[in-house]
Subunit: 345 residues, 2 copies
Amino acid sequence: MANSIRRSKAVTLADVAKRAGLAVMTVSRYLNGYPNITKKTARKVKDAIDELGYRPNQAARILMGQPSNVIGLIIPNLANPFFASIAHSVQQTALQCGYLVWIAATNDESKSDTELIQRMRDHQVDGILLASSPGMILHKHDLDQVPLVAIDRPVKGITADYVTIEDRMAAHAAVEHLLSHGYQRIACFGLSAMIYSIEERIIGYQEAMKAKGLAVLPYAQCEDKKSAKSVICKLLSGRSPVQAIFPANATATILALEALNDLNISVPEGLALFSYGDIPLGHVFRPPISAVRQPTALLGEIATRHLLELIAAKRPSTGVRTTIPASLVIRQSCGCAAHSDIPTE
Amino acid sequence: MANSIRRSKAVTLADVAKRAGLAVMTVSRYLNGYPNITKKTARKVKDAIDELGYRPNQAARILMGQPSNVIGLIIPNLANPFFASIAHSVQQTALQCGYLVWIAATNDESKSDTELIQRMRDHQVDGILLASSPGMILHKHDLDQVPLVAIDRPVKGITADYVTIEDRMAAHAAVEHLLSHGYQRIACFGLSAMIYSIEERIIGYQEAMKAKGLAVLPYAQCEDKKSAKSVICKLLSGRSPVQAIFPANATATILALEALNDLNISVPEGLALFSYGDIPLGHVFRPPISAVRQPTALLGEIATRHLLELIAAKRPSTGVRTTIPASLVIRQSCGCAAHSDIPTE
DNA sequence: CTGAAAGCGCTTACAG
DNA sequence: CTGAAAGCGCTTACAG
């Protein structure tokens, strides 16, 4: 009778129970892997489920406080290869562990971060992975128990575990490599310096310069294609022009290469370059681009596993930091000679 | 009493109702924008909600058959820039319309498609956007009412609306452009030809060749970096070597450029090239790469809006096809001369 | 080892 | 215009 009201003809637990001639509870126990079930009973339940094609309604399970088996991933921009690669690996890892993932991009609008977290919480997400937008500050009540792991950059305002690439060290090593070529005037070049990982790279650059007693140049900041060109022009003019640049991320490298191309300046003769972040076709480019290779897939995987552990252990984030080393891919834009016979990839 | 059992201290509708001195129903009506509510009552409800910081539990709403406001996006690979761009725009569009999106990558394993659809259905997803894996065939019962829109390629086995880029026409136009340079022997080059959109590009190539009465060469298929090299070697050897290639997607273009670089063959002199799919830095590359530009963001947006319409109208997919034109970006790898003063971007 | 009851937090009819 | 009851499809205690 009550059943006749149902609009959806989805098979329910009750249907399975009736078919198997058992109580709803028994079926539920079977589904949840409860140990004390007779083989015979289990068989009956299994058969009924198969015959009816039963699938548990997740909304009902979630409503009863069961885990949703869903995690959320919030990143600035999914179209950016760096984040796309992270997202792919997060998704793969989560799926392997039985989790579905929500993905939301903030487009660097910090206010949407908290909004997205809220919306995901409304859906009883089990945990959140967050690469926060520049200006954003989170508050404790924004999370309220939901485990969160920060990726690529820490979150301001709360104590959260986070997983990053060893930006500072990798930047230091890259600049050191440029220094080994004898360049003395090297500038770090890029877009907004408001992002933690970029700040770290700038610090890595500064440390490397200071260690050699060389002048730390101000961060050469551009906004877009046009300003990139004028910034680079300025770096190359004056009495002591810059000999090498260290773009702080792949986007900056692309802007730099465009500008150098437009200005007809050859690399590395006119200006040497060591990119933070490898770029597609970087090894086929003329000259091949030396770059810090970021282990994005590994970052995604480690962060996801860490979050799932927190969820499983019902442990809160305590500010634990995990750092992943990056490697240097030395090609020729830094000034190294071509070793035509040695395959670089 | 019953309340003392609750583990989560989340604020519920009942709490709000009590605080406002009203019935649960009234609060529910307010939340759902029911028109006939006194201003005074509305005020009371609003105040109570604000004071308590109430947020509706989506699981309960979904269990009652309300829409979940969640859509699913299933694609082969999220790390691929083509799909990453689509995913980003799907996500943006959906968010603007109040939808959250699940993203899952199949890694070209066709069996995981149906599994993912099933899992999303378990969570009462309102609709699904699918770029199916090569071998997959869907059955009607896999969907059972859930609206689905196919993207980039149709789905086999069911009737579903789909949104694609006009691959065939764009390919035709690109090959025609190569022909306008006087090349007579042109080959289509790429990876697996099992994918609908690639098939379309091959057909576009063939049509363009036939229209000029020229020989349609067999699809030059490679598997990886190594085979790409040998395939290209073969194309260039023999009595009538190929003069131009038309890589069927960006991945193929990258493989081709790597191979040509390794083989020390200059472009376009040694072999001209017109890429299907623009590549990052394509305009700074030497030579700048001519390419078909795919409007991925537009594809994602149109497909999402279409799906949301189906959901809103409770209309099933009927096989409607929406095609989006692609444009040609003419640079120099095709054989065109450099117009150094004309900015190409 | 299995079951009948109560309840999760909402919404859908049905009253008034 | 507002409310008391029943129910969505599950699971959590509590019995037996």
